[in-house]
């Protein structure tokens, strides 16, 4: 199962990998991934296929490349025992996504509705009093953006069908204004970080001494 953190980060990793390598090189990487049966997006979500493929092209240089990409997306914050506790967003489009999501009344209402307990789509719509068509569209958007995630638990509807429950990806959000900059710090639950395949590969790279 793909972690919500990975879903959230995938789009931005894809953007930075493509930008750094350029269209010609990224096409070669995509072709190689396709040979293995992955799209670039899928390979980033599962991460290991991307990592292995990049290593086929760049060898150990892949470590440095991934570090630079993550440096451009976010800054990792660790607790006293060295575990990742949050990320501070550095990528502008990532920051805009968060700000526009929480600045949008309907999206914010949906995310607030599931902040305490995981809920089914029908329960979310009931709770915030939103029309079905708009509600479904926004929920689907939030899922695609990685801000809303299917919970591991489910419930049985009145008709006896098993329905999925949803919860927010971000457990806590700090927005600070520093001079002219807006700093956004995202806190994830320990389980979210533990389940992230991307973080499992990336975090060890950041514990080595760097040039």
């Amino acid at each position: 199962m793909i972690s919500e953190m990975d879903v959230l980060l995938t789009k931005f990793i894809e953007k930075h990998v493509s930008m750094q390598l350029g269209p010609d090189m990224i096409q070669r990487v995509k072709n190689r991934l396709l040979e293995k049966g992955y799209s670039l997006t899928q390979a980033i979500k599962e991460f290991d296929p991307l990592d292995k493929t990049l290593r086929e092209f760049f060898g150990k240089g892949t470590d440095g490349m991934l570090q630079k990409i993550f440096d451009e997306i976010c800054e990792m914050k660790r607790d006293k025992s060295g575990n990742l506790k949050s990320i501070v967003i550095k990528d502008k489009s990532f920051a805009n996504l968060i700000l526009s999501t929480y600045g949008n009344q309907e999206k914010k209402a949906i995310l607030e509705a599931v902040s305490e307990d995981s809920l089914s789509v029908a329960s979310i719509l009931n709770k915030i009093n939103l029309s079905q068509s708009t509600g479904y569209r926004i929920i689907s958007l939030l899922i695609n953006e990685g801000l809303l995630i299917e919970s591991e638990h489910s419930e049985v509807s009145a008709e006896g069908r098993k329905v999925s429950l949803y919860r927010p990806t971000i457990s806590l959000l700090d927005i600070r204004i520093k001079k002219s900059d807006i700093e956004i710090e995202i806190h994830f639950t320990r389980d979210t970080i533990k389940n992230s395949r991307i973080m499992a590969s990336i975090l060890p790279l950041f514990s080595k001494p760097r040039i």
Partner: protein, 266 residues
């Protein structure tokens, strides 16, 4: 499904080194050099062979520069590679300019081109090469350990010490201007070689790494020629028909092949 995949998909991105091309470059370098020696012995009055050597010496870095710019063009949208290959192309243009100046001074003005303004362009060539590698390393480089430092020190010593040792021995430990001047270039070549070795270590076991291996081989040939040349200049033994010239012909041709290998990866 997995079994089918393994049968069809190659284990790694294919970019194998064709050693026949490398042998061909070396053989062509030897054949060209000794043909020029032969033709010059037939034609001592007009020195036409000198002009052929001059033209080939200019064309070699120029062709490599064109290759580097073509790769930079393919990479124009890439943050890392585009700039790196522009530096490399400019480096080879500097080398070509240096060869033009050298040829004009040697064959047309008939003055000793060592030392000369051409040397500034050779220095720029080395600096732009280092810039090309540093641009790559800054992006791909990660960790640094003391084992690498020891390897680098050994490589640097292996480049510089033979020049210092042999030349000083011949000079009876009394260094002259040519020795000091040549030492500057040998040190610069040694530093450039260090960076090439670092890049090879960084991209080891990858498709890009195989292109860097070829480049390292080309560099070793070129730098051997450089060190020998600066030794010869101390004792004024260099001319266009000295065997040291072969190293530069073969070196440039193999460098062009390395860039072609790089293009095949990308």
């Amino acid at each position: 499904m997995e079994k089918i995949r393994n049968d069809v998909i190659p284990d790694r991105v294919p970019n194998e080194i064709n050693y026949k091309i490398i042998i061909l470059c070396i053989t062509a370098g030897i054949v060209f050099h000794y043909s020029m020696v032969y033709f010059s012995s037939l034609d001592e009055q007009t020195k036409n062979a000198n002009y052929v050597i001059d033209i080939i010496s200019i064309i070699n870095p120029l062709v490599t520069a064109i290759f580097a710019f073509v790769i930079a063009g393919f990479y124009r949208m890439s943050k890392v590679f585009g700039r790196a290959y522009i530096f490399l192309g400019l480096g080879y243009l500097c080398a070509a300019t240096a060869e033009v100046i050298y040829g004009v001074q040697y064959d047309i003005m008939q003055i000793d081109p060592y030392p000369s303004i051409a040397d500034l362009f050779f220095i720029a060539f080395n600096i732009l090469w280092i810039t090309h590698i540093v641009t790559n390393i800054r992006y791909f480089g990660t960790t640094f350990d003391y084992r690498k430092l020891v390897i680098f020190m050994m490589i640097f010593c292996a480049t510089v010490f033979p020049y210092i040792g042999v030349t000083l021995y011949q000079l009876h430990l009394e260094p002259n201007f040519e020795f000091i001047y040549g030492l500057l270039f040998v040190v610069l070549s040694g530093i450039t070689l260090l960076f090439v070795v670092y890049a090879v270590m960084l991209f080891k076991d990858s498709a890009l790494g195989r292109a860097w291996y070829v480049l390292l081989l080309a560099f070793l040939i070129n730098i051997s020629g450089d060190v020998w040349y600066y030794y010869l200049e101390v004792f004024e033994q260099y001319d266009l028909y000295h065997p040291v010239n072969f190293f530069w012909y073969a070196g440039y041709w193999i460098q062009t092949y390395a860039l072609f290998k790089h293009k095949k990866v990308t």
